[in-house]
């Protein structure tokens, strides 16, 4: 039986080092299968995070051979031609332990970007009609499937350079709400996402769009936010 050579990052917030493991290679083996094998058969103290195992929850993202990925939907064959795998926690986030990243700052930034829907109707009002073929609705459809896995955030150079930067996921969320005709907090949201820590810091490197497992393009949404914020600033509405 052929064996996979693993280097797995072990440690906590104050630092750590790589530990080597050997794992039997199997057919149709996912990277998450490999991590689970290590914990169940080699070292039960290994910490990692997962839930659904089928690409729905977004909790198993890690850095696999230098690239942020969902480990449940990444087959070893896709990323490991030479029988070696290196696993690290997601970049740009603090480490809790081993492969578990602290997601608090990531989700706090969603709140800072006013990522919460602010409707103007009550339950006593009729439904708002939103035409599925309208441009705004189609733009929302293209960006709405984000499950908050932080792969984009971990892949973003600007987050690494500017820790205050809201990041692709929070800005993508703000974009979906900006294009939601039912939402009533557009000016406040544009103020929250404009400027040095917001959409204008994006360098359009497209790493987020390249790596997003849901094939969303946060870059496109960020470009939309830039246009909307520029128009609002020029008209004195910002």
């Amino acid at each position: 039986m052929s064996m996979l050579q693993l280097r797995v990052w072990r440690g906590g917030p104050r630092g750590g080092e790589f530990q080597s493991f050997e794992v039997p290679r199997q057919a149709s083996q996912s990277v998450l299968d490999v991590v689970t094998y290590i914990q169940r058969s080699l070292d039960p103290t290994l910490a990692y995070r997962f839930a659904c195992r089928v690409g729905m929850c977004g909790s198993c993202a890690m850095t696999v051979n230098g690239v942020a990925r969902w480990t449940c939907r990444t087959h070893v064959d896709q990323v490991c031609a030479d029988g070696r795998l290196e696993l690290k926690p997601l970049a740009n986030l603090p480490v809790i332990r081993d492969l578990v990243a602290d997601m608090r700052e990531f989700f706090d930034k969603w709140a800072r970007a006013r990522g919460r829907f602010a409707g103007r109707r009550t339950r006593h009002d009729d439904f708002e009609r939103v035409a599925p073929e309208s441009e705004a609705r189609r733009q929302v459809d293209a960006a709405i499937e984000c499950i908050g896995c932080a792969v984009c955030y971990s892949s973003c150079d600007v987050v690494a350079w500017n820790p205050d930067y809201l990041g692709p996921a929070a800005l993508n969320r703000a974009w979906t709400l900006l294009r939601d005709v039912r939402d009533d907090a557009q000016t406040e949201r544009l103020r929250a996402v404009a400027g040095d820590a917001g959409c204008h810091a994006c360098h359009t490197h497209l790493s987020c769009s390249e790596r997003c497992p849901k094939h969303i393009s946060p870059t496109a949404g960020i470009a939309g936010l830039k246009r909307a914020a520029a128009a609002a600033a020029l008209w004195g509405e910002l």
Binding site: V158, W161, N162, L190, R191, A194, G195, D196, G198, H200, A201, K226, A229, A230, A232, A233, L234, G236, L238
Partner: protein
Amino acid sequence: MSARREVLLWSAQRASAALLALCVTVHLATMIYAAHSGLSAAQILERTRGNLAWLGFYSVFLLAVVVHVPIGLRAVLAEWLGWRGASRDWLLAAFAAVLAWLGARAILGVFL
């Protein structure tokens, strides 16, 4: 700094970039023509002195540079050195003034 001012700076940098794309193209074409057609310095000055069209063109070029460069450096200083705030912005305003002065000297040197 307010979000509005940040956005206006960003917009000014994009607008000046568009202007620079045009100005640099015209400038390079002019330089290549002047170098390849064998014009002497005296012949070049003969064409530029008192020429309001060239004065206008290079004034727009200079304005685009003075707007574009300091705003770009502002982002570089923030991202690479973590330098933000009023001290950075005052330094860049002074740098913009130096650029404007040097550019104006060069333009007036071939116009007057």
